[in-house]
Symmetry: C2
Subunit: 373 residues, 2 copies
Amino acid sequence: MDVDNVFHMTGGTGRTSYTNNSSLQKKASDMVKHITLETVQELYLTTTPKTLGIADLGCSSGPNTLSIIRDIVEAVQTTSHKIMVPPPEFQVYLNDLPTNDFNSIFKSLPEFSKKLNEERKDGTSTTSPSIFIGGYPGSFYGRLLPNNCLHFVYSSYSLHWLSKESTLTQVPSALYDEKGNSVNKGTIYISDTSPKEVSQAYLKQFQENFSLFLRSRCKELTEGGRMVLILLGREGPNHVDRGNSFFWELLSRSFSILVSKGVVEEEKIDSYDVHFYAPSKDEIEEEVRKEGSFQLDRFEMFEIERNEKKNNNESPGMTIAMTVRAVQESMISQHFGQGILDDLFEIYGRLIDEEMAKEAIRPITFVVILRKL
Amino acid sequence: MDVDNVFHMTGGTGRTSYTNNSSLQKKASDMVKHITLETVQELYLTTTPKTLGIADLGCSSGPNTLSIIRDIVEAVQTTSHKIMVPPPEFQVYLNDLPTNDFNSIFKSLPEFSKKLNEERKDGTSTTSPSIFIGGYPGSFYGRLLPNNCLHFVYSSYSLHWLSKESTLTQVPSALYDEKGNSVNKGTIYISDTSPKEVSQAYLKQFQENFSLFLRSRCKELTEGGRMVLILLGREGPNHVDRGNSFFWELLSRSFSILVSKGVVEEEKIDSYDVHFYAPSKDEIEEEVRKEGSFQLDRFEMFEIERNEKKNNNESPGMTIAMTVRAVQESMISQHFGQGILDDLFEIYGRLIDEEMAKEAIRPITFVVILRKL
């Protein structure tokens, strides 16, 4: 596995053929960005607002947080130049949970603005873009912004995380029996040992969360506004496959190894659940249809390997393990204690390497384009 | 001196009498807040917008950052309840420089929203307020927000700080001679030893900055929008008095003591300037008149002692010294090195105590209410 930002296209909706996979690598990478920029350009062309409201929901705070904003701004400016109208003001809303490190994004803003102004001196525009960037902390499973302030919503690799406020442990009838004991023993996500109630409970929370997301954005978006939602998903009705769920299966196995070593108590695993859900295409379409204020313009399925850090001498499995650790660490240490982290993720990285040597793991990414009716 | 948040009223505009000062302490404290809330209520009554845009420019990140926002929201809600219209959505823009600690404000937001909702259950309103709070890093000496998005601007104790981007050291003809040597020797602000060019250079930068502030807000505010600007000022035309400038005079003297001890080089003081200016009422009115898009609704002058921290066993002078240190530390250590800080501010605190024992130091605060025409 290439540990760079390498994207593998798996083919369009519903297609399961992975032929010509390697030759499509670069294309798939370009394709996701291309779809995003094409969508915002088409939106701008049909509405040409004086102020364009853009939100990045789940923006995080890595070095690339602002790069998609730069791409979007430049794409819209190019379009406005082509159709010979003055470029719009951009109002950019950066959102993530209140614990996100907004300070580091904010510290990079002066440099970001400076660069954007320099790049614009290439002759395609005589004036610097007016960009007003604000940080909006909070859960996107609920309202974040005033009515009708948005034209374009972008959300990348965030919507597969379930709300932490309405946790699965609040669905005791499904994941826990009358005595409060877990019915999902020995695993942390939907596994082949999980009873049917478990996948139903996860689906129910996904439905509640995604529906609330749609209802909230519906108020915030103007008519004709677009959303580009990039999230992890699964190919078919089965939860247990060699896609995204398989990474949680391997993390469950890593926990089990720590149980067999006497480092972790078995009951601790029973009562731990990842706040994650990989929906199917049908499940997404169903919620969009039920909510009723959005039209599904486009649905693409890709196989994208997201390995943002390239660490020398690190195996592909360990790189994935470190990525998962960065996201899960706070919750795992709260539940199991910090002491197990190093061991756990070393085992995890090794298991991923072993499994990938046997057969590919194919994490599926959806790109969903919705239009506000 | 009471080291709580005790406010001393000095009397209205132009009045120099300080009689009955102590009996007016509480009144002055209430008065500044009262003026703020009265202004926003009057604004709301005359415009009743569906979304009310409020900015706190120079919001800082102390425990009280959000308390004025709470007061404003509650005042508007009370007014909307009285006139029996639905309360507006609130869009709150919190601004400070990109180095401000926005993370800690953001982490306190969930608790802030929770409390505000609880308080509203008192029967005056049946619905929770819709408040959308964003952080907008950047200098308010320039544009921060899109056109016409604001109804109310609040800025407390920020506008006496001059822009760091256009520093005084960029006015070499005034503060520095042809060889680059300071003409403002042995002092860090306007002092009785300063040649006339020095106060002229400070005034010029204040004029540029304040005028740019007005021009920027003019675009962002809707017609009829209000600004409540609270800033340090001076009573008359003289720069050298026992008001705000006297605190810089005492800091200059503290530096001189370190020079006499051989700890600081004299030239270092010559080339250091505080990015501060205490304008007179006339100077503010002049810029408002020249800019032309605002009407001065009200101008109040107070003597307000701002000692937010009450540290046990700390003298009043040392409390003031610690407050000044918190603001100046980064710049002083960059110029003089970190090693002098403890000594410098210990001397400074002692000098303030000594001077206050001789005769009161009376820092003047202006409250300026402007209306967008």
